[in-house]
Symmetry: C2
Subunit: 288 residues, 2 copies
């Protein structure tokens, strides 16, 4: 590491969707990597990522193992085990291994099941992305200004923590350290819930024959997340269901209270609630 | 009317928030009005709208009545009756009177209660706006490309329908004709529901101590509507509660079904639902 910024000679990216391909682009743009090797279950993703220059070559797990310096795992949480098959002989003690999954509890279990108590294991979740999927939507600046949640395991070495933090800082992101439990509870509310609400709103729109010509910019913003890949978000919801179901039940409780106040016709209680909700949303707007 | 575009010598705008002030600006920019007179319960709105040039002068309902050619009513639905007090002597048979309320059924009743079966009455709802409120947020091009729902009453003359349609076309909007019932049912789903979901999500975020540093762009988009003025949206929800409550109950039903599938752990049903929801959202994205 020169001047604290780590450099990785050989990097493997598993999963070349939006996040994986963008990570390749970001590492190249920041000059942090020499050779980028990639892999994806979908052959057209791999081809496209190579053609666009997000990775240099394809990983062949059956070739003679040669150690990687960094492995970045950007697959849906339910595919972590499969994606890591055959990887173990390609790791050194100090190979940094990070994932990018939106769920951390079940993924940490899957990572350790596949790789053992590897000192280079640093579960991560960059909170960046968008509803557009695939390497064609990737951007080298995807992580600039984004928070990255880092959830170290008992096996994670101090050196890996430092290397991981500096890597993300070099990509313009800022690390936030917390346990998997806190991450999963927070993201259930701040990410998984809004996705489910967007899918539910569009389901209802279909069932009730909504006239989409009457949909304004508010409806479009409120449902944008329903454009996200369905299989990925079913996977995330299922992997995080222990944290997500209590959030959904709470949501239903809050909505039920609002409906009762609306039925009762008394506006003061409703206005207090809307007002407090608005204050918090304005506070969010004012965050950097 | 020259070349089919109507011209209005004396225009009154009641309510100088975002919609009312933008209407003044749009009328001036399109060269459709000679003199714009305005009124607002909030004296600072009136002053700001005059200073910004959205209206020329203040309406004094106690002055000697002089007929208006057009009245545009841009107040919350619950304030329609109050806003129209004293207006009747200022109307000619052919004075076009349009409102801009997000609810049409109860507003039509309030309009006729205040003005009688006036032939110039043409209830309207331009689907444009934003969460920023007040004359300072107004824009002369707010209605460009926007749909405007027009809900004529039995008393509305054919001439008023034509004049109204041509006026909105001259402002760059396109008229969609329907009954108040259809409007209120459609907007309950396409506008009032997403507002309530956004307020509910932020209420829940406050109650559960959400860490807003972890909120990504998806959460921001999904909750943007919670920045809308609380009192206005309580008023809209209450005025449209007959159409809105069944939509909210249906929403809870759909959400409950998704939760049961998530609890059951079987992903196929959930994926079918997410997939169908996504298809409809993509269709919306592809609309002009």
């Amino acid at each position: 590491m020169s001047e604290g910024v780590p450099f990785f000679d050989r990097v493997l990216i598993l999963g070349l969707g939006l996040l994986g391909a963008s990570f390749g682009g970001a590492m190249k743009a920041a000059g942090l990597a020499e050779r980028l090797v990639g892999s994806d279950l979908n052959p057209s993703h791999l081809e496209e990522a190579r053609a666009l220059g997000w990775v240099d070559s394809r990983w062949d797990p059956r070739a003679k193992p040669e150690a990687f310096d960094l492995v970045f795992l950007a697959v849906p949480p339910g595919q972590v085990g499969t994606a890591l098959e055959g990887l173990r002989p390609w790791l050194r003690e100090d190979t940094l291994v990070m994932d990018a999954c939106s769920v951390k509890g079940t993924v940490a279990v899957a990572l350790e099941a596949a790789l053992g108590a590897h000192p280079g294991l640093l579960p991560a979740h960059p909170i960046a992305g968008g509803h557009r999927a695939g390497p064609g939507a990737a951007r080298a600046d995807l992580f600039a200004g984004a928070p990255v949640v880092l959830c170290p395991l008992p096996c994670t070495s101090a050196e890996s923590r430092l290397k991981g933090q500096r890597l993300w800082e070099a990509l313009g992101a800022h690390g936030l350290w917390m346990t998997s439990e806190v991450h999963d509870r927070q993201l259930a509310l701040l990410s998984h819930l809004p996705h489910l609400l967007a899918y539910t709103t569009m389901s209802l729109a279909a069932a009730r024959g909504a006239d989409l010509a009457l949909a304004g910019p508010g409806f479009r913003d409120a449902t944008r997340l329903a454009q996200c890949p369905a299989a990925l978000w079913v996977d995330i919801a299922r992997e995080n269901r222990e944290a997500l179901l209590p959030v959904l039940r709470d949501f239903q409780g809050h909505l039920h209270t609002m409906m009762k106040e609306l039925e009762g016709g008394e506006g003061a209680g409703l206005e207090r609630r809307f007002h407090a909700a608005r204050e918090l949303r304005i506070r969010l707007q004012e965050l950097p």
